[in-house]
């Protein structure tokens, strides 16, 4: 049906003046998708046609390039520039049809399934994810086309069995976040061109993010000054000037420069925000490493007590303390930030957005910190654990997760089967009395005694012959199939047959999965679904037969082995269906008065 789709090269423009992003426009019957050529570009589009309210295009012969303008229901528009007018026309016609149809589709779809599930509300994000999955996996796409668009399954049913796929997909996107690198990337070295005295620093958004995270004062200054007071370029020029002053390790010069330039001073001075943070953090530090507590521990604490200039201690220059910053400080700060692993979710492109996202993140964090009061308890427990001498007592054993059986039926059913089987096997033996058993045993012993053990029961040669004949087929097929079915057996088949088989196999699997999951039938919806599935399956059945017939004779055996398995699976389903139907009809006849 509406499986036709149009794929054209086009440029996507947000405004008329925008130079546009080159990419591929793909129009399917219900949506259009724009994929930019450059994978990092943000202008990835995926819009359903039902949101599109109208379309305009430039006329052929006017001096404008071939543009197609689609307006959506929010009043926004998507402009595409095509390579040629024929492309434009194909797309325009397609869009015209699609928009017309998109109005009816939902009703048509619900019309087909008489009792549909309440329409699930799916977010656009999830929709996108599904589309992405379909696009990446052609097999899935085929299946989707056949089953969903063919009307056998609804969209929701189709995806319900693939929740895991969706989950994993989304979790991979959200949870696997890239942390900071251990290496210090913010410590960038300037590049000189060799001729002039100019130096060039190249900043990437990643570096900027690290600078902001490690130096809150720079971050605050950026938010405050850019772009109101100075341009971003000026800002970074100042920053690197300050960095240069630091690198010379000349505190006096730094102080002098800072006195002249107020903004420069921000970069040169020690970070007040950091100092404040440090004071806050020190309260939650593990008391067994808290050396700050020592500092206040001496009872008297008179200054100038003790030995001032003995050989053990070092001296520090206290002058210009304000402008003194050491490599050690930077290293510690860097490592702390790396450990915090604070990352921003936004795409790293614009400095401003990076700065703002970081600021937002920090506010959230500080709000969280205010609320946690149980931290102390955790610390105490940790100390208790640490102080123990581990090998003087039995180990605590690794922590265990309790066994959790999601669906108890799975477990108990399998147990029951085993339980049922076992007594049945014993029951047979019980028919034989011990006397009889003993008798037969004695007979066979006496027989062996008479014949002697040397004579083999069957002649070796014969046995080998029989064995070979029997095992020949089995072993070969088994060997081939067992090793790698696609390599061996299937590869020998003509490619069309192979594909058909594989496709049927997956669709049968899918159908069976839905079929079996629908039992026990508790609602009319499920009943309708089962019927639908049964019909679809019975359609596949003869198709398989056809494949079997169509293949050349020398492949017939392999194909029939493969097909037989599928047939068996289908047969089991049909059997169950019939049995269930009978049961149901019997039930309904039992209760002619229509108990509910």
């Amino acid at each position: 049906m509406a499986s036709a789709q149009v794929i054209k090269r086009a440029k996507y423009k947000t405004t008329v003046k925008d130079p546009g992003t080159a990419g591929v426009l793909k129009m399917a019957w219900d949506r259009f998708i724009f994929t930019p050529n450059h994978p990092n570009s943000a202008s990835n589009l995926d819009v359903e046609f039902r949101f599109i309210k109208g379309h305009k295009n430039t006329k052929e012969g006017s001096n404008k390039p071939p543009w197609l303008n689609l307006t959506n229901d929010q009043g926004g528009s998507y402009i595409f520039e095509f390579e040629s007018y024929p492309d434009l026309h194909t797309c325009r016609d397609f869009v015209g049809k699609s928009i017309g149809r998109s109005g009816e589709t939902p009703t048509a779809a619900s019309g087909k399934t008489d009792a549909s599930l309440p329409d699930e509300q799916i977010s656009t994000a999830e929709l996108e994810l599904r589309i992405k999955l379909l696009r990446e996996n052609s097999e899935l796409q085929k299946l989707h086309k056949q089953l969903v668009i063919g009307g056998i399954l609804t969209e929701a049913e189709f995806w319900a069995t693939r929740k895991k796929l969706l989950d994993r997909e989304s979790s991979r996107k959200s949870k696997q976040r890239v942390g900071f690198k251990s290496a210090m990337i913010s410590d960038i070295k300037p590049a000189t061109d060799g001729r002039t005295n100019k130096v060039t620093f190249s900043l990437t958004p990643e570096v900027i993010l690290q600078i902001f995270a490690e130096k809150p004062a720079v971050h605050a200054a950026f938010l405050k000054y850019v772009p109101k007071k100075m341009t971003e370029k000026d800002f970074w020029t100042k920053y690197f000037k300050a960095e240069y002053l630091h690198s010379t390790r000349n505190a006096v010069a730094a102080a002098a420069e800072a006195a002249e330039d107020e903004e420069l001073a921000i970069f040169l001075r020690n970070d007040d925000i950091l100092a404040k943070e440090a004071r806050q953090k020190i309260r939650r530090v593990d008391p067994t490493v808290n050396m700050e507590a020592d500092q206040g521990d001496d009872y008297m604490h008179l200054p100038d007590h003790g030995l001032f200039r003995d050989g053990g201690k070092d001296i520090i220059e206290s002058q210009y303390e304000l402008y003194r910053r050491t490599l050690a400080h930077d290293l510690n700060r860097h490592a702390a930030v790396v450990l915090e692993g604070r990352t921003v979710e936004v795409e790293l492109e614009d400095t401003r957005t990076v700065a703002e996202a970081l600021a937002k993140l920090k506010r959230v964090e500080s709000a969280n910190e205010d609320s946690d009061g149980t931290a102390n308890q955790g610390i105490l427990e940790r100390i208790a654990r640490i102080t123990e001498i581990e090998d003087l007592q039995a180990s605590h054993g690794p922590p265990l997760a309790p066994l959790c059986i999601k669906d108890p039926r799975d477990y108990f059913d399998s147990q029951q089967v085993i339980a049922v089987k076992a007594p049945a096997a014993e029951g047979k033996k019980c028919n034989l009395s011990s006397r009889e058993a003993y008798g037969s045993l004695r007979d066979s012993i006496s027989q062996t005694k008479q014949m002697g053990l040397l004579n083999p029961v069957v002649k070796t040669k014969d046995a080998l012959q029989v064995f070979n004949a029997l095992s020949h087929d089995i072993s070969r097929t088994k060997y081939d199939v067992g090793k790698n079915p696609q390599d061996s057996v299937l590869d020998k088949l003509p490619s069309t047959t192979k594909e058909q088989l594989l496709h049927h196999w997956t669709s049968i699997q899918e159908l069976l999965r839905h079929f079996w999951s629908s039992y026990p039938i508790t609602s009319s919806y499920l009943y309708a679904k089962v019927n639908r599935l049964k019909d679809a399956m019975s359609q596949i059945y003869p198709q398989l037969e056809e494949i079997k017939k169509s293949v050349p004779a020398h492949h017939k055996q392999h194909v029939s082995v493969l097909v037989r398995q599928m047939h068996q699976a289908l047969d089991a389903a049909f059997q169950h269906y019939d049995a269930d139907l009978q049961k149901r009809s019997a039930k309904s006849s039992e209760r002619p008065n229509g108990y509910v």
Partner: protein, 758 residues
């Protein structure tokens, strides 16, 4: 487990015990029985603290007729916390087995800053303002004023505590500082004063060294303790230095300027009192005539100063007549400050004995020795009279008076050194007048005299016969224990050459050699790629560390190191260092791994453990000798040579090697733990240096590991780590047991156990 040592039933909170812990207890018990002092060296990581605590508490439990008090001194607050955590575990165990009879009261004591719960006081930035803030709210005259005038703020926690009176006691249990704060908050009582009060009643007190060693503090906190005390100095390898520091004072320009300001303020106060309330000054005079009876009738919250010189005879003498009157005393102090200012103006280094110094003071300023001796107490009395609460403003004059009293009291064991500038920075004028104590026995003598048993213990007390000489006491037991290991879980190495086979050293002439710096860098770089989790590096000084790290940064080695592990550095800023340490631990916990750069005589080396995954390797870059040109050190060496016949070189080597051993010894926590130690300096391969290391390290230092280059060290490290990763039998195999269970101890009598051990 529970077992008998002679007549004492020892309750030990673990299922097994190391044999050395057992024999440690036996020795300790001997000392307790003999009521004498003892000196015990036991390797780190063999559970010294818990062995000590469980023996002493069990000893007290089994002899209820002679109650012994345990005073446990730690060097740092975090060690105090660790000790209390172990004691908590022990106490839980004992109560479980003996019932409520085993209940004891154990408190940790610290300063106001660490115990205060009043948010108004606590908001102050540094500890001096916390102290002053507290006094402003709790001094007796402030409270008297508040009674009349409700507008005067007081501390509700202190008021509630006072109101509760004798009912304000801690129920039995083990209280860490955190627990004290929580208890105080819950009851609304001041935890600081509560803890100070409970010190008299507690069975176990844990506090810092100086609460016992510094006479200024000891006079207040520890004066009411009975003789029946067991005093333990844990991690006591530096105890001589602590003693010396406690009795040393230095005077700088800032001190004198501050003192002058203080004197001016006091003069104004006196004038104000003269005008308004002269009777108060007269009353003080009367009191002083009768003698220094300050102590008895003063309330606990007012006693914030005490005599720095402990000899009791001072207290019985009357204050000399010339300083009884407040204004006369101020004049004396003014003259003294003036005199010191004059002495500071010198251009040459001067060194004097106290006797000569006092003579010169008498000649030039007209202040005699007896007057000097009383300065500290006289100032104390005066400040009380003047009702001065903002004591943090008056620290400078206190320093001056302390100095005067010490000079006036001790005629030997001290020297006065005046230096116009630091040797290492000759262009910066910063004159210092240093009263430096050389004799560690002076500060610790009262402790030995007063208490029944003093235990000095550490992982590094080698050579063990030196300590009794330095501290001038006679131990009844003096023992050094080795470590019986299940497997070779420590791996000391001496690295003498770098990857280019050239010698490495921090010797003065080699230390700034780029080749050495690079070789050290390559060593660390190789090691960070081989060793998992945490690595600790110790440097000989801050300046050397700064230099070498900057050099590594410039040559790119640091960047390469950071690709393997995060780097943290100890700085002189304690807050920053603490946070760096905390982050270092987290980096090791989360598996990223980290390197910590530290300094051999710094705060981290003093008391932070790098056990288990927090430290799989310690690298000691160089030998941490003291700065040998320091005048103070030279004076001390001279004193040691003249008095104890200890050679300068011997003492310096001893001091450097105990620091080095202390640094590397922090990697091991138990026998299940493992760690490597690299001594990266060619001088360690020499016998005279190496032999000063404690026996338990030496016994694992193989001859093959005495002269390694970087590549060989890396190979050994790889092999060692692979070996340590294998499962092993914890109880020890072969004839020697390294872990004793209850049955093992019961099976063999004391004698056979001792036979097995030695």
């Amino acid at each position: 487990m529970k077992f008998e040592i002679e007549d004492v039933t020892v309750y030990f909170p673990y299922d097994n015990i190391y044999p050395e812990q057992y024999s440690y207890m036996v020795e300790l018990k001997r000392a307790l029985d003999a009521r004498g002092h003892c000196l015990l060296e036991m390797p780190t990581g063999t559970g010294k603290t818990i062995a000590l605590l469980s023996l002493i508490t069990s000893y007290v439990l089994s002899k209820p007729q002679s109650p012994l008090k345990l005073v446990y001194c730690t060097r740092t607050v975090h060690e105090m916390e660790k000790t209390l955590a172990e004691l908590k575990k022990l106490h839980d165990y004992q109560v479980k087995h003996l019932g409520p009879a085993a209940r004891i009261l154990a408190v940790g004591l610290s300063s106001r800053k660490n115990l205060c719960v009043n948010p108004r006081v606590l908001s102050a930035e540094n500890r001096d303002s916390v102290d002053a803030g507290c006094r402003k709210l709790t001094a007796s005259w402030v409270r008297a004023l508040a009674e009349r005038n409700p507008g005067v703020p007081t501390c509700e926690f202190f008021e509630d505590y006072e109101r509760a009176g004798s009912g304000a006691v801690l129920p039995p249990g083990v209280y860490t500082l955190q627990d004290l704060r929580a208890f105080g908050k819950q009851k609304g009582w001041c935890p600081y004063y509560l803890a100070r009060h409970m010190v008299q009643l507690a069975n176990v007190i844990v506090y810092s060294y100086q609460y016992l060693l510094d006479p200024k503090v000891a006079g207040i906190i520890s004066k009411e303790m009975q003789r029946e005390c067991v005093v333990v100095f844990d991690e006591a390898h530096n105890i001589d230095n602590v003693c010396i520091e406690a009795l040393s004072v230095c005077v700088r320009r800032q001190t004198l300027e501050g003192a002058t300001r203080n004197l001016h303020r006091m003069e104004q106060e006196i004038d104000r009192f003269k005008a308004t309330d002269e009777s108060r000054l007269r009353a003080e005079y009367q009191r002083l005539v009768e003698g220094l009876a300050l102590r008895g009738d003063l309330r606990v919250n007012d006693t914030w100063l005490a005599n720095p010189a402990l000899p009791d005879d001072i207290l019985k003498e009357a204050v000399p007549g010339n300083i009884r009157r407040a204004d006369f005393f101020l004049r004396v102090l003014r003259r003294f400050v003036q005199y010191l200012k004059g002495r500071l103006e010198t251009e040459n280094v001067e060194k004097e004995s106290p006797v000569a110094f006092v003579a010169s003071v008498t000649n030039q300023a007209g202040i005699d020795q007896k007057t000097l001796k009383f300065c500290y107490d006289r100032l104390h009395s005066l400040m009380m009279t003047l009702e001065i609460t903002d004591t943090d403003e008056f620290l400078h004059i206190q320093t001056i008076c302390d100095f005067a009293t010490l000079v006036g009291t001790y005629a030997r064991g001290f020297s006065i050194i005046i230096e116009p500038f630091d040797e290492r920075m000759p262009d910066v004028q910063d004159p210092v007048l240093q009263l430096s104590c050389h004799d560690a026995s002076l500060a610790i003598k009262p402790v030995f005299d007063r208490f029944q048993t003093v235990v000095i213990t550490s992982g590094t007390l080698s050579p063990i016969d030196l300590y009794p000489r330095l501290l001038n006491f006679n131990p009844v037991v003096s023992r050094s224990f080795t470590m019986s290991l299940t497997r070779d879980c420590i791996c000391p190495m001496v690295l003498t050459r770098g990857s280019d086979q050239l010698p490495v050293s921090t010797k003065f002439d080699m230390r700034s050699d780029l080749g050495v710096v690079r070789n050290y860098g390559r060593l660390l770089l190789e090691m960070v790629s081989v060793v998992p989790d945490g690595i600790v590096c110790f440097f000989v000084s801050y300046s050397y560390m700064d230099e070498i790290v900057n050099s590594w940064n410039e040559s790119g080695i640091l960047k390469e190191i950071m690709q393997h592990k995060l780097v943290f550095i100890e700085t002189q800023d304690v807050v920053e260092t603490t946070l760096a340490l905390d982050n270092y631990r987290r980096a090791c916990d989360c598996g990223r791994g980290a390197v910590f750069f530290s300094v051999a005589r710094g705060k981290v080396a003093e008391g932070i453990d790098f056990d288990r995954h927090y430290g799989r390797l310690v690298i000691m870059f160089g030998i941490p000798f003291q700065y040998t040109l320091s005048k103070i050190l030279l004076a001390r060496l001279e004193y040691l040579r003249d008095t104890f016949q200890i050679k300068e070189g011997d003492f310096l080597t001893f001091d450097a090697l105990r620091q080095a051993a202390q640094c590397v010894g922090r990697v091991i926590r138990s026998k299940a733990d493992y760690g490597m130690m690299i001594f990266a300096d060619k001088r360690y391969s020499r016998h005279d240096k190496r032999s000063k290391l404690p026996g338990w390290i030496l016994s694992h230092l193989r001859d093959a590991h005495l002269n390694l280059s970087t590549d060989m060290a890396v190979y050994i490290a790889r092999e060692f780590l692979r070996k340590m990763a294998q499962p092993y039998d914890k109880a020890g195999s072969g004839g020697k047991k390294t872990l004793l269970s209850q049955e093992d101890i019961e099976k063999m009598g004391d004698s056979s156990l001792n036979d097995m051990l030695y």
